[in-house]
Symmetry: D3
Subunit: 144 residues, 6 copies
């Protein structure tokens, strides 16, 4: 294998506004309220989520890009943002079916949606995801 030159990480931010509640359908209402507190409000609450998608790869010497961020943004919007934005994470999102609507489960589900397509369509490796639920709470996933 020949040397490819410097390897960089490139990150694109996307946003979506969604409703959810923390609710384990196997539990009683009392148990849900006990564990999740106000996050278990039956009529939902919601967030302005921020998703940071980081890919890794060499710099294409013809373009100067690791990946064209317009292409990455388009792929992320088609594969995940369009399913999540102005939706209910518990009810409206096929790839969240059967999963509790936590940020932890959501970031893993987003990884599953993006990992294959980013490699196949853009030729770079998905390196990591950051998902901010609020200015104080954030989760990350690196595919481990």
């Amino acid at each position: 294998m020949t040397h490819q030159g410097p390897v960089v990480l490139v990150t694109r931010r996307e946003r979506f506004n969604a409703a959810h509640k923390m609710w384990n359908p196997k539990w009683s209402e009392e148990r849900n309220v006990e564990v999740y507190g106000k996050c278990a409000n039956p009529n939902w609450h919601g967030h302005n989520y921020q998703l940071f998608v980081t890919v890794k790869g060499p710099i294409n010497p013809s373009t100067g890009y690791c990946v064209d961020l317009k292409d990455l943004s388009k792929l992320v919007n088609e594969r995940v943002i369009d399913q999540l934005d102005h939706r209910n994470l518990n009810l409206d999102v096929p790839f969240m079916n059967g999963r509790l609507a936590s940020s932890e489960n959501l970031v893993v589900a987003i990884w599953e949606q993006l990992d294959g397509p980013i490699g196949q369509e853009l030729g770079v490796k998905l390196h990591g995801l950051k998902l901010y639920e609020s200015e104080n709470n954030m989760v990350e996933y690196f595919g481990e």
Copy 2:
């Protein structure tokens, strides 16, 4: 009347996470979707709202404060944030009953909740409210 010295504005930020949808119950589903687009998603969406409450008054020479921000924060939390945080604006909030769940109607309703108590309990005048629905969208109300 004696001179009171300088008059300042003091602002406190509070935050709440809520679900809502834009939906006029007098309209058909088609009309709602036509007017509100994805904001009319039947299963709700949500936001991290930020509320900036600004009061106006002279500086108390004994304390150096216009108002103690701990007191203002407590009042705002009891009167509005506790009713709004982790709630559904369309279903769970008594002071939004009968109002469409827009930021415009919400900021006016919050004013109505706060205006009297801030004057009576804290002795300063409510000057204005800013309500951020997202980093791009914001409404203000000055009681006019």
Copy 3:
């Protein structure tokens, strides 16, 4: 005239990335460098500008909106952002012709582009504009 109910201010943020230089063509190069310093770099520099457009009006009781922010965003993009984004303020922007490319002149020129259409097409009043050139420098214009 009947009472219209509460009057609110609604603000939409839009962004554009542009090149410019501060350069008075009536002056010598020496004079330009003396007055403008590094802002007069002949080969340009640039900014991520943020524009906050604030309109004022009553709340439409049918929609709950003062103005639909999708409509305001569309109008602002068509009238100004599309002319400014990824452009050179000194060379590429017809409505900046004959004006020095300062934020002060730019915010006034943006006002001239938006004031009529916002009133005529959206039925609300343009109240004010904020233009951030950087996190430290900002100008505002209220049509005075």
Copy 4:
């Protein structure tokens, strides 16, 4: 008087890091703790303050500027930031002598330091000051 053309507001952000405590020397320690809570910690606490200085004036047709922000920044640094940055507001700042070290008193004191010099040296009017003590707490003063 001839027409001067558009009048704009121009704002410069400056920052300073300072120690202070809320402490009224006329009161007992008990009274200070009762009123100010943890803000009365005898050994001080501190903040990263942000100051936004807004001036108002016509646009100079020769420069395109209302005021050169380098000049405004220099004046604000010399008159106030150099006295405040890495200082103790209760002990080290001559223009705070005899005033309780609240943000309310500080913003008024800063106005007194800036109002004359900005008019005399820069030829524009000081319009307003915003002083952020934290992301949640802010005061404003408009010289009233």
Copy 5:
């Protein structure tokens, strides 16, 4: 050992406002001023610190959480924020005794306070700490 499913990182932001000065008691005043400049102001200065606590672990299939952020926040507040907020880092904080009050030493001391309890009480691993002293200056520690 059985497979635990995806491993995620979860981060909680907490804030505290503190006074400090950079001062080595073994040095002369001249030496302190020479090394630390204005950070050695005898009467202290202060900051709004932001602490980001990142833990790592599998997702609990019953809750959907890696860790309940209410629990993490409570632990971090009890173990470190309550000792630091509205305090003097040089004088008031037992776990900083004998350490120079730099962000580097502080982030290591915070690690020592949190590492054991987070593992024992919450069952996840402390992965890293970020401590912002200002918008321009930040330190990180990963327990190495």
Copy 6:
């Protein structure tokens, strides 16, 4: 080798405002526009770039610092910011000669400027660079 105690990462933010365009001189104008879209505007566009420089090293027990951030800031300004701020990345920056003016190439070029001097002059290791072109787009380089 003796034990050095904890190893920390220290990060300094610096900012610069620059013009650039994406343009491969080996390609036709049509090809450039096809690949780069509006980023290929012949008359340039620009950004407020933010650079985060992270170094790694033990804590000096005499100073409490890993590195004095005043020294790091001075070095980064002299070596890179002074060459980049208020410049054109395609025309004015010697260390970008012969490179396409992408953030990917820029972050690698900045690494080359900083890596040696940071080790030799400051005695710490350059760990990583983050370069924000906008709030949505960011690249990182770790010297691989």
